[in-house]
C-alpha cells in the first residue's frame, strides 16, 4: 500500500543494533497501512514487531542503532523529523499503547496529570483545560467515576484500569495512527476481551489507523482487518484477516494457525512449530524459516525466497506460494 491515500508507508526498512554482538532486528521490511485501517502485526517474540513500532516513533537508541530504508507517516519522512517537530509528532500524530501499563506510567504522578501534561505540550492549553481533556478521555475509555480516577496514582488502579488510562493518554491528542504493542498480553483473560472491544470501539469513534502487535492469532483476528505475519524481521505473509485465516500460504503462518488452541478437539496434541527462531547476528541470506520448515528444499537454503504478489495487497515470501499447498 502506498500513494497519497496511505497513512504508513515503510519501504525496505532494515534495522541493526550494534553491540558486542550485532542484531539484525529488521531485514528489508516493507509495509503499508491505509487511513483508518487496523493491521495486526503477528509474530513470535524476537521477530521484530516491537522494534518496528519503536522505529516508527523514533524511540530506538540512536547511538546504537543503524536504520536503512524509508518510513513515511502521512507522507512525512519519519527519519527527518527533529527537535520540536518530533515532540509534536510523538503523541500528536502517532502514539503508542504499551504492553505493561503498570510500568509505562510514572508511579509518582497522578494519572490525570500524566494525561494532562501530554495535552498541554501538544495543544498549548492551560493546566485546567488539559485536565478537563483528561477527564473527557477517561470518560471515553469508560472508566467508572472518572473524576476520582484523575487524582489516583498508578499503583491505586488495577491492570485493566491502567490500560484504559494508557489508551486515554494515547488518544488524548487525537493521533492519526495508534501503535498498540501487545496491549492485552499482561492482562487477565476477561480484561483482555474488554480492552480489545474498547480499542475496536474507539478505532471506529476516532477513525485512526492502528497497528496492533500481537503474538496471539486469536487476538489478531478479533481486532484487525488485515494481518501481516512477521518472522526474523521480515514480513513473510500479508493479507486480509479472512485470507490469512482461510487460506494461509506461508508454512509459518500455517504453523501458527495449527499451534492455536481454537477448534482443537480435547485430547489431541497441538502442533507446535519445531525449533526456535534464528539468531539474527548476521543478516539472513536464505529463507530464515527454512530450518524449521516441513517443506524446505535446497533452494530455500540457497537464497532469500521471492516475494509473490498474489493480489493487490496480498503477498507471500515463499517459493511454495504459487502452488496450492497441501496440509503441512
Amino acid at each position: 500500500m502506498s500513494g497519497p491515500g496511505s497513512l504508513v508507508d515503510i519501504r525496505n526498512l532494515s534495522i541493526r543494533f550494534r553491540g558486542a554482538r550485532d542484531v539484525h532486528a529488521i531485514n528489508d521490511l516493507t509495509l503499508g497501512l491505509a487511513q483508518g485501517e487496523t493491521l495486526a502485526l503477528l509474530g513470535e517474540s524476537g521477530s521484530g514487531k516491537s522494534v518496528t513500532l519503536k522505529a516508527l516513533l523514533r524511540l530506538l537508541p540512536p547511538r546504537r542503532t543503524d536504520i536503512e530504508g524509508t518510513m513515511k507517516v502521512n507522507g512525512a519522512d519519519v527519519m527527518s523529523i527533529t527537535g520540536r517537530a518530533l515532540q509534536t509528532y510523538r503523541g500528536g500524530e502517532v502514539s503508542m499503547v504499551f504492553q505493561e501499563p503498570g510500568l509505562a506510567l510514572d508511579p509518582v504522578y497522578t494519572v490525570g496529570r500524566q494525561i494532562a501534561e501530554a495535552v498541554q505540550r501538544k495543544k498549548r492549553v492551560s493546566r485546567d483545560e488539559a485536565m478537563s481533556t483528561a477527564l473527557d478521555m477517561l470518560r471515553r475509555v469508560r472508566i467508572p467515576s472518572p473524576e476520582r480516577r484523575l487524582s489516583n496514582y498508578p499503583h491505586e488502579l488495577s491492570g485493566g484500569m491502567l490500560q484504559r488510562v494508557m489508551i486515554a493518554l494515547a488518544l488524548a491528542c487525537r493521533p492519526r495512527l495508534l501503535l498498540a504493542d501487545e496491549p492485552t498480553t499482561a492482562l487477565d483473560a476477561t480484561v483482555q476481551i474488554q480492552i480489545l472491544l474498547l480499542l475496536r470501539a474507539l478505532q471506529k469513534e476516532f477513525g485512526m489507523g492502528v497497528i496492533f502487535v500481537t503474538h496471539d492469532i486469536g487476538v489478531a483476528v478479533e481486532v484487525s482487518e488485515r494481518i501481516a505475519v512477521m518472522y526474523a524481521g521480515q514480513i513473510v505473509e500479508e493479507g486480509t484477516t479472512h485470507e490469512i485465516i482461510k487460506s494461509p500460504r506461508h508454512p509459518y503462518t500455517r504453523g501458527l494457525l495449527a499451534a492455536n488452541l481454537h477448534d482443537v478437539a480435547r485430547g489431541t496434541r497441538l502442533d507446535a512449530i519445531p525449533g526456535a527462531p534464528p539468531p539474527l547476528d548476521v543478516k539472513p541470506d536464505a529463507c530464515p524459516f527454512a530450518p524449521r520448515c516441513p517443506l524446505a528444499e535446497a533452494r530455500c537454503r540457497a537464497a532469500l525466497p521471492p516475494v509473490h504478489q498474489i493480489g493487490p495487497r496480498r503477498r507471500v515470501a515463499c517459493i511454495h506460494a504459487d502452488a496450492p499447498m497441501e496440509a503441512a
Binding site: M96, L105, P107, V108, Y109, H155
Partner: protein
C-alpha cells in the same frame, strides 16, 4: 498526610526512649572510673565515697537512670565532672558549632553530588560517567582527616589564604556571619563535604540510571515529552531515595566529624566528645551522645515525612 505524620511522630517516642537507655548504659559499660580523673591520687576512701554520693554514682543503675531522665526532662543534663559547668550549655554551644559546620558542608556537598550523579546517570557508560565515578570513589576512599591536613598545608601554611584552626580569630567562641569568621569555616566545611559528595553522587547516579532505563521513560518520550520534561520525571522519582540518603549523611556529618573537628580545632560536638572521653567526663559524654542521637532520630522523622510527601507509594502502608 497529617495522620501519617502523627503516626510517625508517635513512633519516635519508643525510639527516643531506647536511645536514652543506650546512651546511659553505653557510658556505664565503658571502662574506667570517672572519679579517678578528678580526685587526687592520694584521696582517701571516705573522700571518694563522698564524691561518689555527690554525683549520685553510689545509687543502683535504674535509679541513676530515672534521676538522669527526670533531670533531662527539666532541661538539666547535670554538671561536667571536668569543668563543673552545666552540661546543657556546653553541649548546645558545641552542637550549634557542629551544626553550622555540618549544614555548610551539606550545602556544598548535596548540590554537587546530585549534579554529578545526574550527569553520570544520564550519560551512563560515557567518559563523563567514568570521570564522575572516579571522583566519587576518590571522595569516599580518601581519608578526610588526611585531606584536611593536606588542605591546611596548601591553603594555610604555603599560601596563607585561610586560617587552619578554630571557629574565629584567637579561638573566639562567638560565631557571626562576617568574613573574619567565615574564613575559618571554609577549609573544614570543604574537607567534610568530600565524603558526602561521593556518596550522594554514587546514589543519584545509580538511581538516575535505573529510572532512565524504566519503561515509563520510553513512554514519556512516546507521548512527546521533551528531554527536560523527562528529567523532571526522573528527578521526582529519584527524590525520595536521594533524600533519605542525604538525611542520613547530614546526621553523619553532625556526629561523625570528630576527626575533622580535631584536625581543625573546631569547637563542635565531635571535639567536645573526644575531650569528654579522654577525661572520663560521664555527664558530658552522656549528654553529648544523647543530643546527637536525638538529632539523628529527628532527622529520620523529617526525611520520612518528606519522602511520604514526594512519593505517593510510601504513605500506603
Amino acid at each position: 498526610m497529617f495522620v501519617y505524620f502523627l503516626r510517625r511522630l508517635i513512633l519516635v517516642l519508643p525510639v527516643a526512649f531506647g536511645v536514652s537507655v543506650i546512651c546511659f548504659m553505653l557510658v556505664q559499660i565503658a571502662p574506667g572510673d570517672p572519679l579517678t580523673a578528678i580526685m587526687p591520687v592520694d584521696a582517701t576512701a571516705e573522700q571518694q565515697a563522698e564524691m561518689r554520693a555527690a554525683y549520685g554514682l553510689d545509687k543502683p543503675l535504674p535509679v541513676q537512670y530515672v534521676v538522669w531522665v527526670g533531670n533531662l526532662i527539666q532541661g538539666d543534663m547535670g554538671r561536667s565532672i571536668a569543668t563543673g559547668r552545666p552540661v546543657a550549655g556546653e553541649v548546645f554551644g558545641a552542637v550549634q558549632n557542629s551544626l553550622l559546620l555540618a549544614v555548610t558542608a551539606a550545602l556544598i556537598a548535596f548540590p554537587i553530588g546530585v549534579l554529578l550523579g545526574f550527569v553520570a546517570g544520564y550519560f551512563r557508560d560515557t567518559i563523563l560517567d567514568r570521570i564522575v565515578t572516579a571522583i566519587s570513589i576518590a571522595g569516599v576512599s580518601v581519608p578526610n582527616y588526611w585531606l584536611g591536613i593536606v588542605l591546611v598545608i596548601i591553603f594555610s601554611v604555603n599560601l596563607g589564604w585561610l586560617p587552619s584552626m578554630g571557629a574565629g580569630p584567637g579561638g573566639s567562641q562567638d560565631w557571626s556571619w562576617d568574613w573574619v569568621h567565615v574564613r575559618h569555616l571554609i577549609l573544614p566545611a570543604v574537607t567534610l563535604a568530600v565524603v558526602p559528595i561521593g556518596i550522594v553522587a554514587r546514589t543519584v547516579r545509580a538511581l538516575a540510571g535505573d529510572i532512565l532505563s524504566m519503561d515509563f521513560v520510553t513512554a514519556l518520550y512516546a507521548k512527546g515529552m521533551s528531554r527536560g520534561d523527562v528529567l523532571r520525571h526522573v528527578a521526582r522519582n529519584a527524590a525520595a531515595t536521594a533524600l533519605s540518603v542525604m538525611g542520613l549523611q547530614l546526621g553523619y556529618l553532625l556526629g561523625g566529624s570528630i576527626l575533622i573537628e580535631t584536625v581543625f580545632n573546631w569547637p563542635g560536638s565531635g571535639y567536645l566528645l573526644s575531650n569528654a572521653i579522654f577525661q572520663r567526663d560521664l555527664p558530658l559524654l552522656q549528654g553529648t551522645i544523647l543530643v546527637l542521637a536525638l538529632f539523628f532520630v529527628a532527622m529520620n522523622l523529617v526525611v520520612d515525612v518528606a519522602q511520604a510527601a514526594i512519593d505517593p507509594r510510601i504513605q500506603r502502608n
